[in-house]
């Protein structure tokens, strides 16, 4: 094992204020189960899970309440004991409405005392899933465990981890890259996990190496986190095989999958639909790796995660280990409430996070942060016409022409945006960050991508319907 400095700097990128000192020295604190949990069926990328419970049901911590619904989907388990109070559409952090199970975690004891409902016999508290010995377990068993533990990428996108860990036939994983860059301003959740749960990360790496057929391992950490680098060096000191800690230059968006691959092994992922595995890489967030070791060794599914609650409008910024589905309001209350009324609330980091307008939202497996910013930190802009300064072109890490895309989308010209490769945009926000005309360039990109995706889906549906019709016709002809 050795520590090396990354030699490959990607083009573009920006240097936002990191503001990490607010929460970086706050050890992870565990939040007691809140009275109400809002557990979304759509905590991951892909199809929402199929709800398995109904109103009035009692569920136990770890019980399966949402079934994986398709190949790109992840199951959902109850993050606490409780009674299902309601199942309804709730607003998610990204603005969409999704089915959510509302759990009343206080109702249980009372109902048991009354004896009106048939209580589930209180089983002795043991592991939720039978623990596995990773050394003797087969690859398939380990993969299955990752799947049934409901693990998805915890860095933000929420891609199903078992899918990521099963390279399609003909493709081999040569490099397993651990993403510990955490380049988003304010967020320190991954940093704290690296400091406090280093042995778990090491175990997770060994399990993943086994599943992926012993690829080389690269642990990518930005240079501004020396303590995390040290913690990883200690944890991995005696590991065998090709393992390197790669110290990355401080540059946003270093935590992006594609840029990390470039910075560590100098490979370039082609345009979508290509995935990192097409260049022999699997990138996984450090939190996810720790979750994998918990799922295998302790039989503990992914039920809670560390979320950074920070910003200058919150009384005491903290890194909180909270059950998935904890309402934002409970997180803020745990931090001593608001210091000053926030002018902006962001779910996630300041660069890629989503502004939200209410604290009545439940956390998900991908909620890495919640930021409350005071009026002094929030700039009220109004967009102006592009002055062709070219800053966004220099900032874009994907080599796009954000100015052109934004101008095209202003005129609703999706075709031009598509020709300008907007689908490769990673929505990092670097373009909007530096634009002197305060143009909402990233939002234009998001909008273009949304309409292109909608069109593709419609085309697929039409093609499917046409094929169906052809088939029927052929069958009809045969019958005649």
């Amino acid at each position: 094992m050795k520590t090396v400095k990354s030699q490959f700097k990607f083009k573009g990128g920006v240097h936002p204020d990191y503001n990490k000192e607010l929460a970086r020295n706050q050890p992870i604190e565990k939040l007691a189960t809140p009275a109400e949990l809002v557990i979304s069926m759509s905590q991951h990328l892909g199809a929402p899970a199929k709800c398995l419970v109904k109103v009035g049901d009692f569920v136990k911590r770890g019980q399966l309440i949402g079934e994986k619904n398709g190949f790109i989907s992840v199951c959902v388990r109850a993050s606490a004991d409780g009674k299902v109070k309601a199942i309804e559409k709730r607003l998610g952090p990204a603005g969409g409405m999704a089915d959510a199970v509302i759990l009343d975690t206080t109702a249980k004891e009372e109902a048991l005392a009354e004896g009106t409902e048939t209580p589930t016999p209180s089983a002795p508290k043991g592991p939720i899933l039978p623990p596995l010995d990773w050394k003797t377990a087969t690859k398939e068993e380990l993969l299955k465990r990752v799947e049934e533990a409901g693990i998805c990428g915890m860095g933000g996108a929420g891609f199903p981890t078992n899918v990521k860990l099963s390279p399609p036939p003909g493709k081999r994983c040569e490099y397993l890259i651990l993403n510990g860059a955490e380049c988003e301003p304010y967020l320190t959740a991954d940093y704290r996990v690296m400091l406090e749960r280093a042995p778990r990360i090491r175990l997770g790496v060994e399990i993943m190496r086994k599943i992926l057929g012993m690829p080389a391992v690269r642990i990518a950490i930005e240079a501004n986190k020396p303590e995390a680098i040290k913690a990883m060096e200690e944890a991995f000191a005696d590991i065998e095989g090709n393992v390197e800690i790669v110290v990355l230059p401080v540059l946003y968006p270093q935590g992006s999958e594609k840029h990390q691959i470039y910075a560590t092994v100098k490979r370039i992922v082609p345009e979508p639909p290509a995935l990192p595995i097409d260049v022999g890489c699997v990138v996984e967030n450090v939190g996810t790796v720790a979750a994998i070791s918990d799922a295998v060794e302790l039989g503990e599914p992914l039920l809670e995660r560390v979320t950074t609650v920070s910003g200058d409008a919150v009384a005491t910024p903290k890194n909180i280990l909270a059950p998935c589905g904890t309402k934002y309001s409970d997180l803020v209350a745990f931090c001593g409430g608001e210091k000053i009324p926030p002018a902006k609330i962001i779910s996630g980091g300041t660069m890629m996070g989503f502004a939200v307008s209410t604290l009545d939202i439940g956390t998900t497996k991908t909620t890495s942060g919640l930021l409350l910013l005071s009026p002094s930190r929030v700039f009220q802009y109004s967009s102006q016409a592009c002055i062709n300064c070219g800053r966004c072109l220099r900032a874009c890490p994907m080599n796009l022409n954000p100015a052109e895309i934004s101008k095209a989308m202003e005129a609703d010209d999706v075709k031009t945006a598509e020709d300008a490769h907007v689908m490769t945009c990673i929505e990092c926000g670097a373009c909007s960050f530096g634009c002197p005309a305060y143009r909402t360039i990233t939002q234009f990109c998001r909008r273009a991508k949304a309409s292109i995706r909608a069109r593709m889906a419609a085309e697929r549906a039409a093609a499917q319907a046409a094929a169906e019709k052809e088939k029927q016709k052929a069958e009809g002809a045969k019958a005649n």
Binding site: L91, A94, G95, G96, M97, F354, A355, V356, S357, T358, Q380, Y381, S382, S383, M409, T440, Q443, F444, R446, R447, A450, S451
Partner: protein
């Protein structure tokens, strides 16, 4: 000089004969009905029928791949004319017009944030579900007004409204609205519920002064459940447009004030 004239005239003659022959032997015979159909269609090219325009619809009709009542803009008259040309029975159509099922203006429905991103409903909806407190209501950024080929939609006070006299029922606005709150309703119906929020009454009241609370009074006052003028989705009353209520009294008795009786939909409250 003479030679030149003779040559040019000769070339002209040969070309004319060739063209005449080509017209006779190489002609692509178009079904004359296509032209006839195009002349009875409204020519609005609104795309409401599901085809690229009136001409494309006419061709689909002749090919037998489209129903003859698909032109909402032309209505019954048009369907009858089409049926006559094609020599088939007319399929009944009913003139339908768009209805924006929301009456939460800026003064009635609270806004819980300042949105200063792109002025477009779908994009605003992608940002925290929009700045309106009610997550089901009209955002008022006018995506529907922008696609309407007839200029029938106007946005005022954060709320879109359709002028029934101009609307041809093409359904483009229905497709574009991210909140899915525009519905095509029979033009003859006069009583409407202008709300799209199925939440419980108290939750609706928190975000909107004129939202439907699901109190069922409209149903009670119009002859009860058996009369079948209303259906309910959660705590939201919906007019049953195949059997719409006619008694204007129920409008005045709606405690939530989200019902209207209005010939043109534009006046609201």
């Amino acid at each position: 000089m003479v030679i030149a004239i003779v040559c040019i005239a000769g070339i002209g003659l040969v070309a004319a004969i060739a063209l005449a022959l080509a017209d006779k032997y190489l002609a692509v015979r178009e079904d004359p009905r296509i032209g006839m159909l195009t002349s009875v269609l409204p020519g609005a090219n609104c795309g409401g029928c599901g085809f690229a325009g009136c001409d494309a619809y006419a061709r689909a009709l002749v090919a037998g791949t489209a129903p003859n009542g698909a032109c909402a803009a032309g209505g019954d008259e048009c369907a009858a004319a089409i049926a006559k040309i094609l020599g088939v029975a007319a399929e009944a159509t009913e003139k339908r017009v768009a209805l924006v099922k929301c009456c939460g203006t800026r003064s009635e429905a609270i806004r819980i944030g300042d949105y200063n991103g792109i002025c477009d409903c779908a994009t605003a909806a992608m940002t925290a579900g929009g700045d309106k407190g009610c997550k089901y209501g009209c955002l008022g950024y006018g995506a529907c007004a922008n696609v309407c080929p007839k200029g029938a939609i106007s946005v005022a006070d954060g709320l879109a409204k359709v002028d029934k006299r101009l609307c041809i029922g093409c359904g483009k606005c229905v497709k574009v609205c991210p909140k899915k709150l525009i519905e095509l309703v029979p033009a003859s119906a006069t009583i409407h519920v202008l709300c799209n929020n199925p939440d419980k009454g108290p939750n609706v009241r928190k975000v909107c002064g004129v939202g439907c609370m699901g109190c069922h009074l409209c149903e009670k006052n119009s002859g009860g459940k058996e009369a079948g003028h209303f259906t309910f989705q959660g705590f939201l009353a919906k007019v049953n447009y195949s059997n719409p209520p006619t008694d204007a009294m129920i409008v005045a008795k709606c405690p939530a004030k989200c019902m209207i009786e209005d010939a043109h939909f534009e006046s609201g409250h």
